[in-house]
Each structure stands twice: as structure tokens, then as C-alpha cells.
Symmetry: C2
């Protein structure tokens, strides 16, 4: 059923912050066909939690996380483009990460996994592209954390990344996002079942994960949307436990948490979350502006959402401006979507045409 392919490193993978490990593999999925000139490839890098399964295909007809964006005749048109989506290094959806088995011990790496950076995730994604024999991408698309990874890749492989789409992302983690993610990590670490990362596979730190996920969902959407969708609507039968849920917004958060907490490895979550906090383009050349100068972006589409509290519009403007100063032709869109950071996952009416137009206008 799975449409995943794997690239296996035959050399140890060297992490930017130190540490090398053997046996690293990267999971990816593809749609469409690479043309003879090998110049119609589009790489999608993901946010923190999605897998490489962005959309359905003949091999895996299940719906993907960007289903309406990607496919034949869709905004990212797989009749025309060869599309690759990579599962981030450090994740638990096929690529090697803290939940993978450490060969020497036969147990999960857990906190013995090397410190992970966004730059490592970019290096791992690039290995897939090189393996496919692609020297230059038609476009590189990164929403959320994927936009951080895309910028790291455009820095590491400038010649391969002339056309860049950054969606609700950031040139560096800011204080509010760091605060939020540090709280999510604290919730997991404070769960007695976490046990310093060596949790029993039958007893995950689910209470901590539940809190972390709910806190995430709170910042992925917007107060305005929830006022419209839920207001003060109550659930039909108040949960009997003391201080149990009474309002629909509470059961909405609970439903989101329940879908997530059994399926995403807690240590992987911690590693990817911390990698985002560490991300700072200014580490490459001293300033954000200097980092953009080291890329070779010719055209860029930067999309932000007015109601995004996690990756605020000011950061989208900062990316657009940095790329402009580095001589890219930049289209900047500030969308009035009400769904906050998650708008790119749901507001296809606004995001779809913008992406299609940009991709089709590239030479």
C-alpha cells in the first residue's frame, strides 16, 4: 500500500553539529515522470509532522496531507511536473530518526541520536535529489518548517535551487515560537512516562504529547476562526470527570490530539521541534541578508497569512525583502485567510491559483 521509496546512504551521515551514524535512509515519494532533460522536478519539503505522502497515487490511493494541491490537473500538476516529497531526517515516517533502531544496541536511538539541525534535514533531502540524477530543480517548495529546510538547501546547493516557494515560514525562529515550542517539549519531558527519552514502547508519554499537540493546534489556527466555528458552543454531554470538557473547542482540540499522539514518536517530535528553534539563517554569514546573498535564487514566491501567529507576516516580509536584496524577482502575497498558520493546508482557493501561476510562469 505504501508508495514510499528509500534512499540509503552507503557512507556515514555527518551531522552539522557533530556525530556521524551509519545506515541512514531517507524516505520519499514521487508523482509524475522525470522528463528526458531531467529539468521538470519539483521538491516539496514538509512541516514538522507530515510524512512524504503528500497526495494519493496509483501505488497508494490514500489521501495525502496536501491532496488538493498535488495531482493531475491540480495546482502542482503531476501531468507536467515530476514531484518529490521527502520525509524529514529525524522524523518517524520512514526516514532515520531517534525512533530508529541503533544497530549497536538493537534499541531505539532515543537521545543517543545526534543533535539534529534543519541543515541536516536539507542535506538528507539533497541526497535523494542527487540520487535521482537531478542537478537543478524546477522549483523548491517549503511550507512552515519545510520553508526553513528549503532555505537551508538553497544555501547548501545554490545552483540546484533557482526558484523558491516559501509558505508561512521564517528566516529564523523568533522568541514567541521558541517559547511555544519549549513549552511543548517541556510538556513531553514532564510526563513521567518519557523517562529521559527511554520510554517503553507500550507506555508512551501520551499525556505530555496530548498537551504538546493541543498547544500546537492552538497556534496553527486563529482565534478569529474559532470564534466563527465554535464560539461558545457546548458539547452535548458534559464530560463527567472534574473539570472535564464542556465546550466544542475543547473536544476539537482533543480529537486533533488523539489523531496525533499514538502515531508520532515523542523523541522525534522533540528533535524536530528543537531543530526549528535552532534555525537561524544568520548562522550563515553573520546576518540574514548575507545568507540570502549566498543563495542563487532567481525567482521566489513568498506567501504569508495575516492571521498566522506562529510564523507572523513580518517574518514573511523579512524573507521576501532578503531575497529581493539578493537580486531575486520576488512575488510576495499576504493572504487574508482566517485559518492562521494552517491556511496552506486548507485554504486551497487562495493558495492553489497562486502556486499554479508561479510554477507555470517559470522557464
Amino acid at each position: 500500500m505504501s508508495a514510499l521509496d528509500y534512499f540509503n546512504f552507503d557512507q556515514p551521515f555527518a551531522f552539522r553539529r557533530g556525530g556521524r551514524i551509519d545506515g541512514v535512509r531517507v524516505a520519499f515519494e514521487t508523482w509524475g515522470a522525470l522528463n528526458a532533460q531531467r529539468d521538470n522536478a519539483i521538491l516539496i519539503l514538509t512541516g514538522l509532522s507530515p510524512s512524504a505522502h503528500a497526495a494519493s497515487s496509483a501505488r497508494d490511493p490514500s489521501l495525502g496531507w496536501w491532496q488538493d494541491m498535488l495531482g493531475p490537473g491540480r495546482p502542482i500538476d503531476t501531468d507536467r511536473w515530476f514531484v518529490i516529497c521527502v520525509n524529514s531526517l529525524g522524523s518517524c515516517k520512514g526516514s532515520t530518526g531517534p525512533a530508529s533502531i541503533e544497530p549497536a544496541t538493537g534499541k531505539p536511538w532515543a537521545l543517543r541520536f545526534p543533535e539534529l539541525s534543519v541543515e541536516d534535514i536539507a542535506d538528507a533531502a539533497w541526497a535523494v535529489i542527487a540520487h535521482l540524477g537531478i542537478a537543478r530543480l524546477h522549483a523548491l517548495i517549503g511550507p512552515s518548517m519545510g520553508g526553513m529546510t528549503a532555505q537551508a538547501l538553497a544555501l547548501a546547493q545554490p545552483a540546484a535551487c533557482p526558484n523558491l516557494v516559501l509558505i508561512s515560514s521564517a528566516p529564523q525562529a523568533d522568541a514567541f515560537a521558541i517559547a511555544l515550542r519549549s513549552l511543548q517539549r517541556e510538556a513531553i519531558r514532564a510526563d513521567p512516562n518519557w523517562r529521559g527519552g527511554d520510554y517503553d514502547s507500550a507506555h508512551w508519554p501520551l499525556a505530555g504529547m496530548r498537551l504538546a499537540r493541543k498547544l500546537g493546534v492552538m497556534t496553527y489556527r486563529s482565534p478569529q476562526e474559532w470564534t466563527q466555528r465554535f464560539g461558545r458552543a457546548r458539547i452535548e454531554s458534559r464530560i463527567a470527570s472534574p473539570f472535564g470538557a464542556e465546550y466544542q473547542i475543547e473536544s476539537y482540540l482533543e480529537a486533533h490530539a488523539q489523531r496525533f499522539i499514538g502515531s508520532f514518536d515523542p523523541n522525534c517530535y522533540l528533535y524536530l521541534s528543537r531543530a526549528m528553534d535552532w534555525f537561524d539563517l544568520a548562522d550563515h554569514g553573520g546576518t540574514i541578508e548575507a545568507a540570502y546573498q549566498q543563495m542563487a535564487v532567481r525567482r521566489a514566491l513568498v506567501i504569508g497569512v495575516e492571521t498566522d501567529m506562529l510564523f507572523p507576516l513580518a517574518q514573511q516580509e523579512q524573507m521576501a525583502e532578503g531575497l529581493r536584496l539578493a537580486n531575486a524577482a520576488v512575488e510576495f502575497l499576504a493572504l487574508p485567510s482566517i485559518q492562521g498558520h494552517d491556511a496552506f493546508l486548507v485554504d486551497f482557493r487562495r493558495f492553489g491559483p497562486a502556486l499554479a501561476r508561479f510554477l507555470n510562469s517559470l522557464r
Copy 2:
């Protein structure tokens, strides 16, 4: 050292949602002198956590939570006004609440304390005012949760509350605020030390309280302020524990949490937090507008802050509009303070003159 006075109910206190208990007392503090006409009294109702000690006095020279706002020659001028600040019923700063001893058992009430509503807090505050022989307040001032309580009091005792100051408050809890507070409560309830509310006095659910408080502080301020104050500044020595704090924003949150978690009773926090979720003016007459019609507010000052994510500006506008429709003369200020919901506690340059002007303009 304490300047607290107490009002002791000689009858059982009847809670609006059901339940009556004996021996209820309400702690309060006063500044200045009541005049012969008994018409120069100003009542301040507090947010969730502050005590009645709003400012220093001869009896208690320690700094209060609204120190720069209140005192001789200050915006709320105690040379002119007789100022009363009441500790909320349900709190743990002198008034009866879930942390108080249940006479029948000799143990804390904990979850056996009756369900608490904002209306109950208003009823208890009113008992203090009546006890002081005051029939009509010169002004009633409520920031944050105190603004909810002030509106409940203006509904219950309309003749006593002709002049109202609402600061960063709301006519009802909205979905985002409910979501946030439900997460804070979940963090406390998920702490194994909480034990269904019957925690050992030597083993409070501090990990849960720490998360709850940090989450609060995150929404009391604004991302813009933190970008300015902290940006990506690191702490001097990274905490050695896995995933320990690295950024100044993290140690800022930790310092705030440490000041709070040993001094505020967890069950009191849960009760007051839930009371805010339940608050809805529309419970009084079917709509918010109908509730304002039942008050007898002649003049009102409504102040909101553009960066407040917890009590957003739209809710301040809603209160101002509701009061206007009920024939009050309303002054509405939308302040550009960068400190979010907490601005009234720190941005005295903006809040002070606005309050002084309003109070001095009242007949």
C-alpha cells in the same frame, strides 16, 4: 505587616450554580478615607491571580500589583478617593476558596468546594461594599477577569455602579481563551501530584502549575514585545539537561513560573480559570446587548490593547458598543501598547492619564 481586612458572612453563602457553605470570608484592603457623604469610593476587582494588595500603605509598605496606579497623587488618587480592592472569592489570598479548610473535615475543601462563577465573586465583593456602608460607588474598575466581575456586579447591583472602567476584559469567554485555559487546567490535572485535587501540601502539582503559568505568561504578553526584548538571545550557560533551556525567553518564562507556582493554590487556580470560561453576559437576558440594558451604567471607560491576544480588541469594542446601546456615555481607547494583555500592569504612561482623566471627570 498585612493590611488585609476581612468581611465574614454570618449567613451561609449561596453559590449561583448551587451549594451553600458556612464561614465564608472575603479579604480586602483599603486606601484613603471614605468621606462623610460616603460617595467617593472606588472598587477595584482583580484579575485571576492578584491579591487585594494593589499598592503599599502605612500598614503594609510592600509594593502592590498596581503600585504605580494607586496612591497619593497617583492616577487613582487616594488623597481624593477611598479605594477598596477585594480578593476574589475562590482565591487563596485571604478570601475563602478551595484551599480553605472545610469545617466538617478539617481538610481543604479541594474539589468539594461548590462550583464557582464570576457572579459569585461579584456577590462576595458586593458584601464588602455593603458592609462598609457604601450604597453607590464613585467608580468600579475591573481589569481582565476583574472586568468580568465588574460587569457581573453592575448587573447585580445596577444602582451602585453608574460609572464603569473595563480594561482588557470581555463580555464572555471566547473560544481561543477557553482553549487556552482548558489546556492550563489539563496541565495541572495531568500532573500525577494533583491526585484529583487532594494533593499533599508538601507535594503540590508543580510541574503542571509550571506549564500552566508559562502558557499564561505567553498569552499575557505579545510576540512583538518578545522579539524586541529577547529576540534569539541565548542564556550564558546552556542548561546541561537534555533539551534544557538555551534561550533567554525560556529563562524568562521559567523565572515567571517560579515566582508563581509555590504561592498560588492549584485548585484555586482551576476554580477561577473555569469561572472565566463560564462567564457569559448573554446568560443574563439572552444576549449580551440585553445584559447591558439591565445595568444602569451612565459613563464608561473601555480600554483595550492592540496586541492583546487573550482579550482581543474586538471584545473591547463589543463591550463599548453594548454599553453605548444601553445609553451609557462611553469613552473607548485602543492603546498601541506592545505588552499585550499585561499592558495595564506595566504601561502606566498610557493607562495612568486615561484613568485619572476619566475618574476626575465624573460628578
